[in-house]
């Protein structure tokens, strides 16, 4: 809010000045700078329709204001009772629709080629990324890069401070970026795990809804240059709809390949660990559980398990203390009402760790230890 006030004051000061183009650009009066050729074409279409609309608006305003100043009783203007009976009156019902139709067809025609281009991805090899919307985070799976997976969650103001990033990025910054190589075609396959979401990064110039049970495609034809492009969820998805930003980071092809390779190594290590059949100690599970809980569960249930609003308190709740482990596990796996199901987005080890943590943290102290094989059995 303080930051907002500062910007507001600077803005107020600006109003007094002659408004120059760079200043306007800062305050976002039009689409942001397009990051791809297709986005550029989309912006051109937008500018064209905006110019046509503005011209029409000026014409209408001119005619109306001329009439308002001329044809008024106070100036002694005598009403022309026969006006609608003249040639103009007889034929205007043809003239006006034909003129409007001409404008309409101009607009539709100029949009058609761009529409065809954005709507269907060309049938050629390109990087394919599955974009899965969750309440309230994004999952990106690099299908053509060995299924490398990125989970992307909002950074709180505290997270930003911890990472040394400026606070004014709040609501537009996430922990893990969606990395893309510059100059490459990329196809996105959109779907959702729970309710509707929409992946929207304005600079990329496209948007489609993430719908459970559907897979939809969009594509971009090569990001011009390296950089960060920010966006956020654009389809109402419940309580934390405002809190699921998207950050695309365009990097060089080289850097992208290195990053993918690192991701693969990390993933293989995690899979090996989860499948090791080892019996985990309570302390190990608690440590793992805390990491996962703070990242994935604390957004709603709070770091101290106190909940709030529609989100139930976990500290001392019967579900996580006296209730059975099976019921507890069931809610985490399958969800309940507002609570999303986690079965598909956490592996057995992580689920075992989270449930163990919830049953022992914040004074819950049940002493229960859940092993990955228990999770497998209750899936």
């Amino acid at each position: 809010m303080e930051n907002g006030m500062k910007r507001l004051l600077s803005f107020a000061a600006l109003i007094g000045l002659v408004i120059s183009t760079p200043v306007l650009a800062e305050y976002g009066l039009n689409f942001p700078e397009p990051a791809t050729p297709v986005a550029t074409e989309i912006k051109d279409i937008h500018n064209l329709t905006m110019i046509i609309s503005t011209v029409l608006l000026v014409i209408v305003f001119t005619i109306v204001f001329y009439s308002l100043f001329t044809h008024r009783k106070s100036r002694g203007f005598e009403p022309d009772q026969e006006f609608h009976k003249g040639t103009f009156g007889k034929w205007s019902w043809v003239l006006v629709p034909v003129t409007v139709l001409g404008v309409d067809l101009t607009i539709a025609d100029s949009a058609q080629s761009v529409l065809e281009k954005v709507w269907i991805a060309p049938n050629e090899e390109m990087i394919e990324i599955k974009v899965v919307g969750h309440q309230w985070w994004w999952e990106f799976v690099y299908l053509t890069e060995g299924g490398v997976k990125v989970e992307s969650r909002i950074l709180s103001k505290k997270d930003l401070a911890d990472r040394g990033q400026p606070e004014n990025l709040y609501l537009r910054a996430v922990d893990n970026h969606l990395k893309l190589p510059v100059g490459k075609n990329v196809k996105f396959l959109h779907t959702s795990d729970d309710v509707l979401h929409a992946f929207w990064v304005p600079a990329l110039g496209m948007k489609k809804d993430a719908i459970p049970g559907y897979i939809q495609e969009t594509w971009i034809d090569g990001i011009y240059k390296e950089g960060i492009y920010r966006g956020q969820c654009a389809e109402m998805c419940g309580t934390k709809h405002a809190f699921m930003p998207i950050v695309v980071e365009a990097v060089s092809e080289q850097a992208f390949a290195t990053w993918i390779a690192e991701k693969k190594v990390a993933r293989d290590k995690a899979i090996a660990e989860a499948n090791s059949n080892k019996t985990w100690t309570k302390d190990e599970l608690m440590a793992k559980g805390k990491t996962s809980y703070d990242k994935k569960c604390a957004a709603c249930h709070k770091v101290d398990g106190s909940g709030g609003g529609p989100f139930p308190k976990l500290a001392g709740s019967p579900m996580a203390t006296t209730g059975s482990i099976a019921d507890h596990m069931n809610i985490v796996l399958k969800g309940k009402g507002v609570m999303p199901a986690w079965a598909s987005s956490m592996d057995d080890l992580e689920l075992a760790a989270v449930v163990t943590y919830e049953r022992n943290a914040w004074g819950n102290d049940t002493g229960d230890v859940i092993q990955p094989k228990d999770v497998k059995a209750s899936r």
């Binding site: 507001l8 029409l56 209408v60 109306v64 929207w200 809804d209 109402m236 709809h241």
Partner: protein
């Protein structure tokens, strides 16, 4: 209001007295008045919710509301304004004016009329129950309140608690009320016209209501069917909209917008009808191109029924389908353009004066044209993928609906207030109301176009600091816009209390038509003997 003059009614029974007069009323004027009072209460309720939204958004950060309460208010603001304020106000004017304009003694089905009004307070009660359900009622599940937006898309709406069931019930009651009112209006117009009042001689307001009533009957049942399927999904184990059970979440969107798009014209057309009365009156010149206006309306109705999916360009339809919806949508500019043109041509070479109704009428022509043009921009799919679900859309439909629907009703209120109450309203205050209202409206919604283009989605409770300036402007505008309505209430109360100059029968110098031949205010029963129209 019309109790004072019942002297004409000696051949008939007079107005009943006390509460019975209102609760059991079958009189079109009393029911019209009740509709208008109900609509004004809902306007204030919906307006307060709008101001709460803007107060929350005035600065980045969450200052007043929690996310679910905010989402719930966003949802109910829309529902209350559409179903509580605009539709009942238009129905109230139809009740009052249609019988007077066509020379009918009352509406054709007076008891049905009573029922269709009294369903509204019931619906309002269940709607408020829906809002309060998360706090008052415990059904053993977590209830976030209806946090889905007025479009109540599943799967999100399937996850909401009991408050959604109350909302579904509310929608059913409102639907029944609208359909009954529509039937009544159609029957009245087709059967009770005075001798000589041919269809093409009917005033434009009557014509617009005839088309509106048909639209309502065509689309309300579709919404009712959609929400019933939703109710079944929620409680009776069906999966119409659940992909996991073989259903389709997108199906609901098609059903909703098959209702939702024509609904825009339901809101708009009665106000266009008011324009068709106001502009000729204050231009002192007949309506230009009445036949083409009526035909445009019929075309608008048909087109309106077949372009719904332009609200859902982002659901991934085939290229052929979206191309059809894009072209269909752009074509709507033809009948709408012709309507706007005809109104401007009515003003052209007239002798205009600028009383409050005329000011609103001119405001509609200018601002609605603007809202219509952003509508054409939105129809163009590649660009719409950027606008969709952004603040640009919010700005667009408020520019279409506030001038298009609400200002038409305001014009109607000031135009007919002297006829209804028998007193002229305070013209100076009326003009002051117009300028503060229009100023506040533009300050509220114009900056939202820029917010949307820059990338601010709609329905978010908190936003990045980059969006601050325009949100501050918008919020300040909304407070001016909202508070100006106190002035409107004051002006109306003054007339109702009988303060102000006495109105003549004709009221306005340029006014023509049967309704202006009656006394102001008209007696309790009018046109007991039908007039003959030449």
């Amino acid at each position: 209001m019309s109790t004072a003059d019942v002297a004409h009614d000696d051949h008939h029974h007079g107005a009943p007295t006390g509460w019975r007069r209102w609760v059991f009323s079958t009189n079109h004027k009393d029911i019209g008045t009740m509709y208008l009072i109900f609509a004004f209460c809902m306007l204030i309720f919906g307006g307060l919710m709008a101001m709460a939204i803007r107060a929350e958004l005035i600065f980045p950060g969450m200052q007043l509301l929690s996310p679910d309460v905010y989402n719930n208010i966003v949802t109910n603001h829309a529902l209350v304004m559409i179903f509580g304020a605009v539709m009942p106000a238009a129905a109230g004017m139809a009740n009052w004016m249609i019988p007077l304009m066509i020379g009918a003694p009352d509406m054709a089905l007076p008891r049905l009329n009573n029922l269709s009004f009294w369903l509204l307070p019931i619906a309002a009660f269940t709607l408020v129950t829906s809002m309060l359900a998360p706090y008052l009622l415990d059904f053993g599940t977590v209830d976030t309140g209806v946090n889905t937006g007025w479009t109540i898309y599943p799967p999100l709406s399937a996850k909401v608690g009991a408050s959604m069931d109350f909302l579904i019930f509310t929608i059913h009651v409102l639907g029944i009320s609208s359909i009954l009112a529509a039937i009544n209006i159609i029957v009245t117009i087709l059967n009770l016209r005075a001798p000589g009042m041919t269809m093409m001689k009917m005033p434009l307001f009557v014509w617009t209501w005839l088309v509106t009533a048909f639209l309502l009957i065509l689309v309300m049942p579709v919404l009712a069917g959609g929400v019933t399927m939703l109710l079944f999904d929620r409680h009776f184990g069906t999966s119409f909209f659940d992909a996991a059970g073989g259903g389709d979440p997108v199906l609901f969107q098609h059903l909703f917008w098959f209702f939702g798009h024509p609904e825009v014209y339901v809101l708009l057309l009665p106000s266009i009808g008011v324009l068709g009365m106001v502009i000729p009156t204050f231009s002192r010149k007949p309506l230009f191109g009445k036949t083409s206006l009526v035909i445009s309306m019929a075309i608008l109705m048909v087109l309106g029924l077949i372009v719904w999916a332009h609200h859902q360009y982002t659901i991934g339809m085939s290229l052929g389908t979206v191309t059809y919806f894009m072209i269909g949508t752009i074509l709507i500019s033809i009948p709408v353009g012709l309507m706007v043109f005809n109104f401007i041509a009515t003003m052209w070479r007239g002798a205009m004066t600028f009383e409050t109704p005329m000011l609103f009428a001119i405001g509609i022509i200018l601002m609605f044209t603007f809202g219509g043009l952003t509508g054409v921009m939105l129809a163009v799919i590649p660009a719409d993928m950027q606008y969709h679900d952004s603040m640009f859309v919010v700005a667009h439909f408020h520019y279409a609906l506030i001038p298009g629907a609400l200002y038409g009703l305001y014009a109607g209120v000031f135009f007919w207030l002297p006829k209804w109450t028998g007193r002229m309203y305070d013209e100076k205050l009326g003009k002051l109301f117009f300028w503060t209202n229009v100023g506040g409206f533009n300050l509220t919604f114009f900056p939202q176009h820029f917010l949307g283009l820059a990338g601010m989605p709609r329905r978010i409770i908190d936003y990045n600091v980059a969006f601050t300036e325009f949100n501050v402007m918008s919020s300040i505008g909304s407070f001016i816009f909202g508070i100006s309505h106190i002035l409107m209430l004051y002006i109306i109360i003054k007339c109702v209390k009988g303060q102000g100059e006495k109105a003549t029968d004709q009221v306005w110098e340029g006014a023509k038509g049967l309704e202006w031949q009656l006394p102001s205010p008209p007696p309790f029963h009018t046109w007991a003997t039908a007039p003959t129209v030449k």
